[in-house]
């Protein structure tokens, strides 16, 4: 699709705002609809759009396979890690109330970190799935 000028220009214009919108969904999840899962999918959609229009090789040059696989693992570790840190700070597993000086702020920061974990995992997994499917097609 690299020679389709309309697609290429439209994708070029869209990829940035899509990634930005994903971050908005992530950090606005406390106030409006959205959260880590949706943000992760939208972020992955931005990368997938880039890969569809500009080719898998260039997408992989920008975001290598090893990084997305690591992301898929890292997010779960962040999520579980927040729980373990809460245990070390005297609470129960995933009890965010003990993370900071007062319970309300601690809840905020706990939810933020956990949502970040979800974002990273979902992004990593979605892009890994796409790379696997698309890469297999080319190798055939």
């Amino acid at each position: 699709m690299r020679d389709q000028i309309i697609l290429r220009i439209a994708a070029k214009i869209l990829v940035g705002p899509i990634l930005l919108f994903a971050l908005y969904v992530q950090f606005h999840g406390d106030y409006g609809p959205g959260g880590g899962f949706q943000a992760g999918v939208i972020f992955a959609a931005g990368v997938i759009l880039y890969a569809l229009v500009f080719g898998l090789d260039r997408a992989k040059a920008a975001i290598p396979t090893s990084i997305v696989t690591w992301c898929g693992t890292l997010g779960v570790l962040i999520f579980a890690g927040v729980g373990v840190v809460a245990m070390f700070m005297g609470g129960n597993f995933l009890d965010y109330g003990v993370l900071l000086y007062d319970a309300e702020h601690a809840q905020h920061i706990g939810i933020l970190l956990v949502e970040a974990g979800v974002l990273v995992t979902v992004f990593g997994v979605m892009v890994t799935l796409f790379y696997s499917f698309a890469g297999r097609r080319r190798s055939r």
């Binding site: 999918v41 579980a80 939810i111 890469g135 055939r140």
Partner: protein
């Protein structure tokens, strides 16, 4: 008015589902599935479940469609005709559907305020969540405007951790299937090795 919208959306859902059954061109089927997702998302919006609608659009209509198209590129776009008689599958579907419809008669009426689901833990969450007038001194457990986020990430943190792990497991499964099968000769190939080989036309 709302019931008109509901009926229209449900009718379109049914039409789309029959289209999916009828068509043999799988690319068209994937597109119809995407439309199906959008219609379900519209239904969720009518039901005030915007978070669910958001997820449905992003995952069901967006990423699933792309992955399904990726699969079609591997397996071809024509559905093969089945020679077997459809009587037994039809019977199984009718019996199962009948049982499900029969089961709905035991459900409480939809949308009633005193349904069991509203009397379980939801009031407790809402009480801790919404700051009540005249209780300034009381420390709220959480105060985040979107209660869905609070429930998912805090009250139901274990469930969300489990879901994240399931997503991770999906990645492990796909990598095991694809990366392992592609290079049976090479031993201990790391994911980084894929890049070089994919670069070749």
């Amino acid at each position: 008015m709302e019931s008109v919208v509901d009926l229209a959306l449900l009718g379109l859902l049914a039409v789309t589902a029959f289209g999916v059954l009828h068509l043999r061109n799988l690319v068209a089927v994937v597109m119809l599935m995407g439309i199906y997702s959008f219609l379900s998302a519209a239904l969720f919006v009518v039901l005030d479940a915007v978070d669910v609608a958001f997820t449905e659009v992003a995952v069901g209509a967006g990423v699933s469609t792309i992955l399904a198209l990726g699969t079609l590129a591997l397996v071809g776009t024509r559905q093969k005709r089945h020679a077997k008689s459809p009587v037994i599958p039809l019977l199984i579907v009718l019996v199962t559907g009948g049982m499900l419809v029969y089961g709905t008669y035991d459900l409480p009426r939809w949308g009633q305020a005193d349904n069991p689901v509203h009397g379980h833990v939801a009031p407790e969450y809402l009480e801790m969540h919404v700051p009540l007038a005249g209780e300034e001194g009381e420390v709220l457990e959480v105060h985040i405007p979107n209660i869905v986020t609070t429930v998912l990430a805090s009250y139901r943190g274990y469930d969300t951790l489990g879901e994240t792990t399931v997503v991770f497991a999906a990645m492990v499964g796909v990598l095991t299937l694809f990366v392992g099968r592609r290079r049976p000769r090479r031993k201990g190939g790391s994911p980084a090795d894929d890049d070089g080989e994919d670069g070749a036309p």
